[in-house]
Symmetry: C2
Subunit: 238 residues, 2 copies
């Protein structure tokens, strides 16, 4: 017998979604949903997802496969012919790591499952402040998706999209995670590697910059050569 409402959390295995899950579990029982979309690091992300779900003693778990996203290409995260950019991108152009319509696919998976489970919320760790500018991480995008849920689900469905991190930067997310005792050592952010994080891709840099700003050591392992400069002088992070 469930005494609290249920929420489906989209958990990639990354830092943001794990913190979002920790926030959501204060108010909801969680159903953990992971989506494989043909990304380079899917094995590592899936491992991170499973260890996080086990840490939080998840009983409802869905691993959905959208491998076709890897076949249609259009993103350096899924197409091995495109290089993942290293370093920070200050161009304000949409980076090649953007995956076409990805959040709409992820949310559709979570909403479909949430509808079957009669869940009350779908939780996504999206944030926009110091992210790479993906259009489907903006608050107005989620408002439009909320409207879609109201029109496109079974009558009586009440699924609210929760974006608990939407107004936080990476340092704020890490601080929130620390305050909630999130197992940050179980999270994976690197866009490139499956063993030790590269430390150089835009996602690694954003994460390292966040930990540096908080003044706490990142508990995950990096390829040593790449992280040495950052460990020596955090203020020189690009």
């Amino acid at each position: 017998m469930r005494t609290r409402p249920l929420a489906v959390v989209l958990a990639s295995g990354g830092l943001d979604s794990c913190v979002a899950a920790a926030v959501a579990r204060q108010d909801y029982d969680l159903a953990w949903c992971h989506v494989n979309y043909g990304q380079r690091t899917l094995v590592r992300e899936l491992t991170a997802f499973r260890t996080q779900a086990a840490f939080y003693e998840a009983t409802l778990v869905l691993e959905a496969d959208l491998a076709f996203l890897g076949h249609i290409g259009g993103s350096s995260l899924t197409d091995s012919h495109l290089a993942v950019p290293l370093g920070s991108d200050e161009s304000h152009r949409l980076p090649s790591t953007y995956v076409p319509f990805r959040n709409s696919l992820l949310l559709a998976v979570a909403v479909a499952w949430g509808e079957v489970l009669t869940a009350k919320a779908v939780v996504i760790g999206a944030n926009f402040l110091d992210g790479p500018g993906y259009p489907d991480c903006r608050p107005e995008y989620f408002e439009a998706y909320q409207r879609l849920i109201g029109l496109g689900t079974r009558p009586g469905t009440h699924l609210e999209i929760k974006t608990p991190l939407i107004n936080l930067d990476k340092a704020g997310i890490i601080r929130l995670g620390l305050s909630l005792h999130v197992p940050l050592e179980l999270t994976w952010s690197c866009y490139v590697n499956n063993d030790r994080a590269c430390g150089r891709c835009s996602s690694c840099l954003l994460r390292r910059r966040g930990f540096a700003a908080v003044g706490v050591a990142d508990p995950i392992a990096y390829v040593t050569d790449n992280t040495r400069p950052l460990e020596a002088s955090p203020d020189r992070v690009p």
Copy 2:
């Protein structure tokens, strides 16, 4: 070198989407997109899709697998533990053949592919007039999805949702298909069978009623016992 704009057509293998494709190809080159969502008749539908795509000499074809929809259940089309209802349903309740958030998933697949292809339209054969009342077939649902595309895709993307059948009933769709010389013998509508159409499920009944109203013989094969009453006296179709 493409001289006409490109449209992604969601083609299930069914009658409606094949007619929608025939309408769209008057103005667009077509990219044919089929989605497996764990439905009972997926082998038959996929065969129908492939023969239609071959008939129209498709060069861009995507077969996307969303098999997880079969795992989460919630629909008699995907869950073998739930019976597909036979006969017409006049209850005005949402029938068990409703698949949770299905059109949002189908559209997300088509939009993601269309974004990569820089297509100008996504075509779906949805219609509402004498359908089973699925919420995600209503015009206001598609309007909300159009807004989502505007907010959730790469800047510069201009993908318009086209619903050429939205205001037609089944007889009207069949008439339109006949006028466009659509190979209706290559389409599959039955929710239950993979060889000869059952003739008794709600989808078969809707199709048979449509052909009866037009006064044309349905070119596909039905299980004989079920269709005999209809063939004898079309006006007695339930």
